[in-house]
């Protein structure tokens, strides 16, 4: 077990480095001299050279990368061009908002996906299964930014139940804070719920056809007990799916947060794109990508605990 964990951890090192290299090259991808945004257009050549040296931009690319990496490891992601504040504090401020919505959306997706998937798998071919499967594929196919708009139209504009935008004021009650989160959470939960439903449905159908279920039945086990066995067998898959989906949710939140003006990392990215704030773009992408890598790693490490058969590779 320990060897397996070590192997996964070691494998994550080159991946993390590669992710950092890609994030570093985002600045190189951006057209134009990065200095033009910090310096006035009529800056003298001397000042240009000085600034270039100060940012380390006169050095060869590999040296620049190492400089950048050592800064990143010390928690310094650079300075936002638009706001003048440090990128890490901007992200630190926003990430809590993204995380809370993503966690709630994952919980909702896990519960809804497991329930729908179990119902569909148990009643394969019945009208119940058809309804559950249709819901699931709609969840997978729906453009979530549009789903957000539809929910706003319905619940905010027509019914006036929930606020349409923002996260409210600081110091508001928990109930008020939650009311701002309901629509973004519903929007974000649709796709992972659909994916979990589809995988659990396939899994349940497969398990029900397997010998151990027949054997349990032959031994006289009642349906509720068999159900418990099937759930136990389906849970690791659902957990693995939700782990990876959590990363997708945090990254994919850019579109949903734009719809709801939710002040998380997605809105940060959106502002970075609008103002061409490359350091902010780079830092946010790096943090979100690293979270995704970490979540994948956690799923890989946790899965054998739930399902000992996976201890391979």
């Amino acid at each position: 077990m320990l060897g397996y964990i070590l192997k996964r951890l070691l494998y994550a090192v080159p991946v993390t480095l590669a992710v950092s290299i890609i994030c570093f090259s985002l600045v190189q991808l951006a057209p134009g001299d990065p200095l033009t945004v910090v310096l006035p257009a009529d800056a003298s050549q001397e000042i240009v050279d000085q600034t270039r040296a100060r940012y380390g931009l006169d050095k060869p690319l590999p040296t620049q990368y190492l400089l950048w990496l050592s800064n990143v490891l010390q928690g310094d992601l650079g300075t936002s061009i638009a706001s003048g504040r440090s990128v890490s504090s901007e992200i630190g401020h926003a990430i809590g908002y993204t995380l809370s919505v993503a966690v709630l959306a994952c919980l909702l997706a896990l519960v809804a996906g497991l329930a729908l998937g179990l119902v569909a798998g148990y009643t394969m071919g019945s009208p119940m299964d058809k309804i559950a499967s249709a819901t699931a594929i709609s969840g997978v196919s729906v453009p979530h930014y549009w789903l957000g708009i539809v929910l706003v139209v319905f619940f905010s504009v027509k019914l006036g139940w929930f606020p349409a935008m923002g996260a409210g004021r600081s110091g508001q009650s928990l109930g008020d804070a939650l009311s701002f989160m309901i629509l973004p959470v519903l929007t974000m939960a649709a796709m992972p719920a659909g994916i979990i439903t589809r995988s659990v449905r396939a899994l349940v159908a497969e398990k029900l056809g397997q010998e151990f279920v027949t054997a349990l039945r032959a031994k006289g086990m009642t349906s509720p007990h068999i159900f418990a066995h099937v759930v136990k067998n389906a849970a690791p898959t659902a957990l693995a799916v939700i782990g990876v989906q959590m990363g997708y949710l945090m990254a994919g939140s850019i579109l949903v947060e734009t719809v709801f003006a939710w002040p998380g990392t997605g809105l940060l990215l959106n502002n970075a794109i609008l103002t061409r704030d490359i350091p902010l773009l780079q830092g946010t992408i790096l943090v979100l990508a690293l979270i995704f890598v970490a979540l994948n790693l956690i799923v890989d490490i946790l899965q054998p605990l739930f399902d000992p058969r996976i201890q391979r590779a």
């Binding site: 890609i22 196919s141 139209v153 504009v157 990215l269 992408i285 994948n296």
Partner: protein, 292 residues
Amino acid sequence: MTVSEITLPTQPMRSQGYWSNVWRKLLRDRVSVACMIVLAVIILSAIFAPLLTSYDPAIGSVVQRLKPPLTDGYILGTDELGRDMLTRLLYGGRMSLIMGILPVLLALLIGGTLGTVAGFVGGWTNTIIMRATDVVFAFPSILLAVAIAGALGSGLLNALIALTVVLIPPMVRVTESATTQVRSLDFVEAARASGAGGLTIIRVHILGNILAPIVVYATSLLSVAIIMSAGLSFIGLGTKPPTPEWGLMLNTLRSAIYSQPLIAALPGVFIFAVSLSFNLLSDGLRSAMDMS
């Protein structure tokens, strides 16, 4: 977002009547037929948009702003600049469909080639191609697309590049695993023993067996690509106004969400319909080809 494993069909694809059999099965599936009809109608109406409407998608009249659907002369109403919604939805389909389908075709071509080479050659070539693929997989696809398009700056070509880069890795993985499965089969060994060259084996034996399942896999990516490309336009990284495009229309119509909610939500219906149809059709194709 995507599952990167496919099962090869259980029966030989070259056998006589295989394709007519698949087609017959597909036509018997009512859902697949419905999807093909929906897609055909949307694609054809985008192509023949100028014949179906007399309005110009880029020109509106300020006095006619945000008219509700079924207003005289405007079947689906008008948008925030007084342009005919139906016209813009029809023309908008052109850009949305091209920007959804083209990246998948490019990824199929590039990723399929890389995957076939990796699977067939093996060894170091395989290691290099597959590890590079792993790195791209370390990013959630939408994040990488936003990162690339965001760094390159908005514009159609940049969005196309971003989407293609994101869609290549799943194509490489699927093609590589299929090629590796086929490569070790007896008939490839037999072909090699009877003196066939590498390229001939790839063309006849490998591609002959994996091309169809891989194209089917690509259809499932179409759904993702349509949502992502419209999503890029939605956040201002793709189509620029006044060109009509469904994602961009959703964005500019957000100001109308209180006054004309129906119109504000309309472009998304088309993205959803296309994405859902591609997904369901891909499911139908899989089961018709015994791949599920």
